[in-house]
């Protein structure tokens, strides 16, 4: 299978832990949000303190675990929100 790079924007504590606001994660083509989550855990161990808490958004909307990802989508990863 073809490997692809997914760019993931990070925010708040996720950004601080990874010390970057944009990381590249390597996944199999046709991957899902759930598999991206696994790849993040393996390739960006700095995020471990937020393990199980991280939310994934695709194209500015919260993503379901089975949602398929492509390289052209905007993907973001962040902790539970605390605005207001």
């Amino acid at each position: 299978m073809t490997v692809q790079q997914i760019q993931v924007r990070l925010f708040a504590r996720a950004r601080e832990l990874a010390n970057s606001d944009l990381i590249s994660v390597q996944v199999q083509e046709g991957t899902t949000v759930a598999r991206l989550r696994q790849a993040l855990a393996e390739q960006v161990p700095e995020l471990q303190p937020l393990s199980g808490q991280l939310l994934i958004a695709v194209d500015n909307a919260y993503a379901g675990e089975d949602q398929l990802l492509t390289e052209t989508q905007e993907v973001a990863c962040f902790p539970p929100v605390s605005g207001g």
């Binding site: 924007r9 925010f11 950004r15 500015n60 973001a76 929100v81 605390s82 605005g83």
Partner: protein, 144 residues
């Protein structure tokens, strides 16, 4: 008919401007909610809060909240502004104004909008405690 307004800003919030955006001769009621930076939280002293947003998604989620409120209540106009950046004690982090013909709708929609904002809009705050430490506030992991 007034149009709704949503914005994320790094400037101080002018709540009178937010309020004027929703006022109208068609309305008998205006409700304004403001969140402000509180000094004491669970016995700990704060000196400032840093707010960070995912601005493009926050705009989309705020628009979704406005749509949800309009599905449920007959409101005239909604204006929401959320600030990001470094806020000191007493400063306004968010202002939500809702106008309607009668007060019930403005109160209920206003309460709904701030409750939902805190659930889904991608904005985060970091406490700057008086002891010099900082701490991101994340509701589900606060208990740690």
């Amino acid at each position: 008919m007034k149009t709704d307004s949503i914005s994320i800003t790094d400037q101080p919030i002018d709540y009178a401007a937010i309020t004027e955006q929703v006022r109208s001769n068609e309305c008998g009621a205006v409700v304004l909610f403001m969140g402000t930076v509180r000094e004491m939280t669970a016995g700990k002293q704060t000196v400032a809060l840093d707010y960070e947003a995912y601005p493009e998604m926050a705009d989309q989620m705020l628009q979704q909240l406005v749509d949800e409120a309009r599905d449920q209540w007959d409101v005239h106009a909604i204006s929401i502004e959320h600030r990001v950046g470094h806020l000191t004690l007493g400063e306004i982090s968010v202002a939500i104004a809702v106008s309607s013909a009668h007060r019930k709708e403005a109160f209920e929609a206003g309460r709904f909008l701030i409750d939902r904002l805190k659930e889904i809009v991608p904005i985060w705050k970091k406490e700057n405690w008086a002891d010099g430490t900082t701490e991101w506030v994340h509701p589900e992991i606060e208990a740690k």
